[in-house]
Every structure is written in structure tokens, then in C-alpha cells.
């Protein structure tokens, strides 16, 4: 038990250290990033809870809000921690040291999995508690016990996303350990998962309008597979203690059982992950030379495509953008019916906001310095200027964004039957936004590098830089969104979008200016 507690403490510290890097400024930033994550969960929860509650309350089915939001908390936690499980439980760099210690694989795996649980808890709490408040706001039954009971339920429900991401991480690790091309296998797995996620979200949004009418059917549909969510409803809304106890057992026992089962094969999985296929029959052929910029650009591309964790945490927007274009084309006639009543101009600035939102999730440069990690000596001792290095990193992000941006804007232009100038303006604004994000992300990463991370997960998912380089551009998108309604009438579609263009052009100048001005000195101070 003492050994387990020591391991647990170590893994909790490692999870927290990903955000806190020493120094007052950086600790404050770490707390700031946590606040932003909590804020994002709060925003998602608040928005959906209000939407659901406004549909369910008139039909007298408000308790279903708790069912939906507990399901939402589990799914969101699963989404946040899917890639983390792979890194934190199976792919940590201290496996050799840990496996040599006189501790059982079960204790080791449980301590690592509980660190994952701790990380999930932030999003679970900030999804469920606001839902509880909105539930009470709409007059849901249960009284003063609703929030304390919901808190207890959240602590146990949180085992489910942890369990799901653990299973997914195990499957991925298992398949990877048997595959010749591990990165390709990881990328395929993640691509399938993302596709399922997008289809699921799309289907949920389409059916939201019929929630109130279908309340009883939905309740029946949750029987069986959705028992934990129905038990949560029973415990929170009806104060049922047996439901609460059953929920605790239903969440905790499978979690412990699965951890125990996986722990039995833990060493072989971890060993399989570190083993790589190797050949010794390489024949040296003709080698072609390239310039420094191209070499660095190719290296960035190889790292991005060769690190599934990095690729799939930064490519969601690149899939969403053309995906939205395809969806708009499919529903083209409905869109045209709708626009014929209001006019395309009214929604045009929102399209630009949407394009920018997709691009704000593509924070490739936000982790690119941190991922150099122990390899930093190579770049620092090479005869390349910081400007060349920064150019390659920024350039790669722009190259990654460009195909998706062009395809997405063309499809949206066709689907919305926009005039050519509007399509060009949308493309220009998207391009400017990408030009803001790339140098800004790099500048943030130079300020908040995480060069000693125990795995790529800590850099890509948990570092201050990864949070800030995604969330701060989102704030700009939010500002654009908030300006839409108040300024639409006085400025008109063209005026407002030109205002966006002007702001973005200024932001591009500012991003490059701070990177050029501060970047080289920050890079010189980095130490691997």
C-alpha cells in the first residue's frame, strides 16, 4: 500500500507538473490554462444544458437533462483523455525504471490510470455541476441534495471515461505492438474514432429539436447500456440511495477489474510498444541534397505525420473545415430555402467566424518547440539561424492548413451560392487567421516550453503552451462572433467582414513582430 501511494503521488505530480513548470509567471499561467479548460467545459455544459432544458422542461421530462449531461460528461471526458491514455499509461518514458521497481504491474498501472482519472475529473465536474444548477433553475425535483449527490455521482461516473480511454489506449497499444508501421496504425485508429465522433455530433444536433416529444422513447433507449446514466438520474432527481450505491459499484468495479486484467499483460504491452521493427539490409543509394529550409520543413512534416498524438490533437479543424463544406453541399437545398427568406449576407460573417474557429484548433506550432525536447541540442548546435528555424515551423503549419482551407471555402462558397468576392474574402480571412495562429503559437511555445516531458501527451495535450496556443486564438474568434449581431446592421456584411480582415491583418503583423523581436532571444535561453 505504501508503494502504491508513493507511485500515485509520483503520477499525480507528473500530471500536475505538465501544467506547472516552475517560476511564478509560469505557475500562474498553468492555473490560467486550467481555468480556461474549466471555462471551456462550463461553456459547453451551459450551452447544451440550456438547450436541452428548454426542450425537456415543457414536456415534464427535465430529469432527462441529468441523463443527457452525464452521458455528455462521459463522452467529453473520453474525448479529452483518449490520446492521453496512450501516453500516460502505456507510452511513458520511465517504463524501464518503473518496471524494474519491486511493485506489482497492477499497482503501477492503477497509479498511472488514476492520474488519468484526475485529469478527467476537471472536465467531468465542470460539465455536470453547471447542468445541475440549470436543472434546479428550471425547477427540477430533488431540492438541496441535487448538487451534493451530483458531485458524488461525478466522482464515480468519472471512472467510465477513464475506463473507456484505457480500453481504447490498450487496443491501440496492442495493435501498434503488432504493426510494422506504428504511426500509420495509430493514425488510422484515430481517424476512425474522429469520423465516428463527427457523425455522432452531427446526428445529435439534427435530432435535438425533437427531444421533448421523444422523451419517453429516449428513456427506454437508455435501458441496459445507459444504466449508469439512469441511475444517476434516480440518485440525483429522486434521491434514491440504492441507485447511488448501484452506480458507485457499476462504475468502480468494472474499472478495477479491467485495470487488473490489463495489468496481467502490462509488461508485454509496454515491451511491445518500445520494440520497433528493424531491418539490416539497407543499401545506400543516390542521395539528393536540399536547402536548410526544405530539410527543416520535411523534418517538421515527418514529426507531425509520425506522431499520432501530435497529428490528431492538431488536425481536428483540418478535418472539420472540408467536412462542414461537404455537409453544407449535402444540405444545399435546405440551406438555400432558409437563406431565401433572410439573405446570405446576414450569415456570411458567421461563416468566416466558423472557418476561423476550425483553424484555431490547428495549433501545430504551439507544441513544436516542446517536442524538440532532448533533441534541441541538434538545432542549437547547427548552423541555422532562429529565423530559418521559425520560418520552417510556421511555414509547415501554414502548408498543413492551406489544402483544408481552400477546399473548405470552395465547398462552402458553392453550397451557400456566395458571390465570388465573398468566397475570396472568406479565403483571405481564413488565410490571415492561419497567419496569426502559426507565429503566435510558436511565440507562446517559446515562452512556455516543456522540454523535459515524460511523454508526448504531456506536451501536446497537457502543456500550458498547447492550451494557450489553442484557446487564445479562440478568444479572437469569440470576439468576432460577439461583434456579429451588434455590427451587422450598421456595417453590413461587406463592412463587417472587411473589419474582420483589418483586425486579422493587424494581428498578423503583431504576431510576426513579437516572434521576430522576442523569438531569437527566447530560443537562445532554451536549455534541453
Amino acid at each position: 500500500m505504501v508503494k502504491f501511494l508513493a507511485l500515485l503521488k509520483l503520477n499525480f505530480r507528473a500530471a500536475l507538473a505538465a501544467l506547472r513548470m516552475g517560476g511564478r509567471k509560469r505557475s500562474v499561467s498553468g492555473v490560467g490554462a486550467l481555468v480556461l479548460l474549466a471555462g471551456l467545459s462550463l461553456y459547453i455544459s451551459g450551452l447544451y444544458s440550456f438547450l436541452f432544458a428548454s426542450q425537456l422542461a415543457p414536456a415534464g421530462a427535465l430529469p432527462l437533462l441529468i441523463v443527457f449531461m452525464s452521458l455528455g460528461a462521459v463522452l467529453l471526458g473520453f474525448l479529452f483523455s483518449l490520446f492521453a491514455a496512450q501516453g500516460m499509461v502505456f507510452g511513458t518514458k520511465d517504463n524501464d525504471l518503473m518496471l524494474a521497481l519491486p511493485v506489482t504491474p497492477f499497482a503501477l498501472m492503477l497509479s498511472r490510470t488514476l492520474a488519468l482519472y484526475l485529469e478527467n475529473l476537471i472536465s467531468t465536474l465542470f460539465v455536470l455541476l453547471p447542468a445541475g444548477v440549470i436543472y434546479l433553475w428550471y425547477g427540477g425535483p430533488g431540492g438541496i441534495w441535487v448538487l451534493p449527490t451530483l458531485l458524488v455521482c461525478a466522482l464515480f461516473l468519472n471512472f467510465l471515461p477513464t475506463l473507456l480511454s484505457l480500453v481504447a489506449g490498450f487496443v491501440l497499444a496492442f495493435l501498434s505492438s503488432r504493426a510494422t508501421h506504428k504511426a500509420l496504425m495509430g493514425n488510422l485508429f484515430n481517424l476512425i474514432f474522429l469520423a465516428l465522433l463527427l457523425v455522432g455530433s452531427f446526428s445529435l444536433s439534427s435530432n435535438m429539436g425533437e427531444l421533448g416529444d421523444a422523451a419517453s422513447g429516449i428513456h427506454d433507449a437508455f435501458q441496459g447500456w445507459g444504466l449508469p446514466f439512469l441511475l444517476t438520474e434516480g440518485a440525483v432527481c429522486r434521491g434514491s440511495v440504492p441507485d447511488l450505491l448501484l452506480l458507485c459499484a457499476l462504475c468502480l468495479l468494472p474499472f478495477l477489474a479491467v485495470v487488473w486484467l490489463f495489468a496481467r499483460r502490462y509488461k508485454s504491452i509496454v515491451t511491445g510498444l518500445t520494440a520497433r521493427s528493424a531491418r539490416s539490409d539497407y543499401k545506400l543509394g543516390r542521395l539528393s541534397a536540399a536547402g536548410q529550409r526544405r530539410a527543416l520543413l520535411v523534418k517538421e512534416a515527418r514529426r507531425w505525420f509520425g506522431t499520432p498524438m501530435y497529428l490528431f490533437n492538431t488536425c481536428l479543424g483540418l478535418i472539420m473545415l472540408p467536412g462542414a463544406g461537404v455537409a453544407a453541399l449535402i444540405y444545399r437545398s435546405s440551406i438555400q430555402d432558409f437563406l431565401s427568406q433572410i439573405g446570405w449576407e446576414f450569415f456570411f460573417p458567421l461563416l468566416i467566424v466558423g472557418v476561423c474557429f476550425c483553424l484555431s484548433t490547428v495549433a501545430i506550432t504551439g507544441s513544436s518547440i516542446s517536442l524538440e525536447g532532448k533533441n534541441l541540442w541538434l538545432l542549437k548546435s547547427a548552423p541555422i539561424s532562429p529565423a530559418t528555424l521559425f520560418g520552417a515551423k510556421v511555414g509547415f503549419q501554414l502548408l498543413a492548413c492551406l489544402p483544408s482551407l481552400v477546399v473548405g471555402t470552395i465547398l462552402l462558397t458553392i453550397a451557400f451560392e456566395l458571390p465570388l468576392w465573398a468566397g475570396v474574402l472568406m479565403l483571405l480571412d481564413g488565410l490571415l487567421f492561419a497567419l496569426v495562429c502559426a507565429p503566435f503559437g510558436l511565440w507562446i511555445n517559446l515562452h512556455f516550453p516543456k522540454l523535459d516531458a515524460v511523454n508526448d501527451t504531456a506536451v501536446v495535450k497537457q502543456s500550458v503552451s498547447a492550451f494557450l496556443s489553442t484557446l487564445l486564438p479562440m478568444v479572437l474568434v469569440l470576439v468576432f462572433f460577439l461583434l456579429w449581431l451588434p455590427l451587422m446592421e450598421p456595417l453590413g456584411a461587406l463592412g463587417l467582414t472587411l473589419l474582420y480582415t483589418g483586425v486579422l491583418a493587424a494581428a498578423v503583423f503583431l504576431s510576426f513582430w513579437v516572434l521576430i523581436r522576442q523569438g531569437p532571444a527566447l530560443f537562445r535561453q532554451l536549455s534541453d
Binding site: R276, S280, D281, Y282, L284, L287, A289, T307, N375, L378
Partner: protein
């Protein structure tokens, strides 16, 4: 080839890792840098390589100041840290090509150089595999090949013999001799005193950041051994 003048380095928190170090490495010279753990060897090598920033003193390589003319200094230098981490997502040949591109080595000569050093270290057959699949020794060999193909004027190495098998270590010494015969210089740190005694034209001993002895190996060792000299200096309160 390498001039270090009054170099000092103080880390945040006040620890003075190197204190007023001055030394010169001539072309064609193999120069050994020895000292106990934490003496300041790695700090010095990293400063010379341009990997670490410093504010006190001056360092020039082949006449290029490492602070004010950093790119020119790095162009003629090859540095290997004590535990060189390489890009695991690249194959061996991709890594060597990447390095050759950064140092602007023409296509034909890079092929010849990789063939020469890859063959000598018996690594050519493995160059198609990802670096992540390499053993520690193979990574060390690959890092050495990447340094040698640059044909550097100054080869900077931190503990180069750690992880190398005896035949690779023997080869490395031969290639050093080859480089020095062509007018290059080798500046390396080591704890293997027998190697330093046999290989080095000159040796510097550093203790707690200060240079306590420097000279031609034969003069420094005299009738004793380098190990005896080192232990004596370590024990007699120098520095």
C-alpha cells in the same frame, strides 16, 4: 582552432559552473578535458558548441566568435553531447541526410562520406530502419557518423566512448587521427583516463569550475600515470 578566453558561466541561483577558464586548442591537436562530475566540462563544451548562452568571456572557433558570428562558428564545428538524443521518428539515412542538408554538404560527397563512415562502423545495413529501433550504441555510432560526415574543423565531444564497443572506439581514434592530419582539432571530455593519456596531445584538468592544470600529456604525467596525477590534484585542495 579553438580559443577560450576568460570564460565564466553562472547558473540561475548563483552556482558558478565555470570560473575564468582560458585555453587554446591548436589545429591538428587532440585535446582532453578531464575533471570530476559537475566540474564544468559539459558546461564548457556546450558553450563552445553554441548550445548554451553565456555572458562572460570570449570563445572563437577558427576565428569566428561563437556569440557574434555564431552560424560561421557552427558551420565548422561538430558537437556531440554525452547522451545524444536523435529524432526517433526518422530513419538513420533520413537523419544523416537532414544533417547533411543543414551543413550544406553536396549530394555526391555526402553519399561517399556516409558510405565510408557507415561502412566502417558497420551501420550501413541499419540506416533504413527508424532510429527508435536502434540500441544505445547504434545511436552513438549514428551520431558519430553525423559528426564525421561534416568534416569539421573542430570536433567537440562530451564523453564520446560511453556506449561504444571496443572496435568502434578503436575506429573513432583512427578517424580522429585522420581529421587532425588534415588540420582539424578534437576537443573532448572523458572520465576514461587511460584513453586520454594515450590519445591526447594536451590535457586540461578542471576542478569546481577552475582550470587547475594544463599542458602536454607527457609533461603533465611525467613518470607517473594520468590517474595518479588526477587523483593527487583532486585530493590536494586545488581550486
Amino acid at each position: 582552432m579553438l580559443n577560450i578566453e576568460h570564460f565564466s558561466k553562472t547558473y540561475p541561483g548563483g552556482k558558478r559552473a565555470v570560473d575564468d577558464l582560458s585555453l587554446h586548442v591548436a589545429p591538428g591537436e587532440i585535446f582532453g578535458f578531464i575533471g570530476h562530475n559537475g566540474a564544468g566540462k559539459t558546461t564548457t563544451l556546450r558553450a563552445v558548441a553554441g548550445v548554451m548562452d553565456f555572458s562572460e568571456g570570449n570563445i572563437t572557433i577558427d576565428g569566428h566568435n561563437v556569440r557574434t558570428d555564431a552560424l560561421a562558428a557552427k558551420q565548422v564545428t561538430a558537437f556531440l553531447p554525452d547522451n545524444p538524443d536523435l529524432y526517433d521518428f526518422l530513419s538513420g539515412i533520413q537523419f544523416l541526410n537532414f544533417i547533411a542538408d543543414l551543413y550544406q554538404i553536396p549530394g555526391d560527397s555526402r553519399q561517399n562520406l556516409i558510405a565510408k563512415y557507415g561502412g566502417a562502423f558497420q551501420l550501413t545495413g541499419n540506416l533504413g530502419s527508424p532510429i527508435g529501433s536502434y540500441s544505445h550504441g547504434m545511436k552513438q555510432k549514428l551520431a558519430l557518423i553525423s559528426a564525421l560526415i561534416r568534416q569539421p574543423k573542430l570536433l567537440l565531444l562530451d564523453e564520446p566512448f560511453v556506449g561504444l564497443d571496443p572496435s568502434a572506439a578503436h575506429l573513432l581514434k583512427q578517424f580522429w587521427a585522420e581529421l587532425c592530419a588534415a588540420g582539424s582539432a578534437v576537443f573532448f571530455s572523458t572520465h576514461v583516463l587511460e584513453v586520454a593519456e594515450k590519445l591526447c596531445h594536451r590535457i586540461a584538468i578542471i576542478k569546481q569550475g577552475k582550470l587547475i592544470r594544463m599542458g602536454r600529456t607527457a609533461e603533465l604525467v611525467g613518470d607517473s600515470t594520468l590517474e595518479d596525477v588526477f587523483l593527487e590534484l583532486e585530493g590536494d585542495g586545488h581550486g
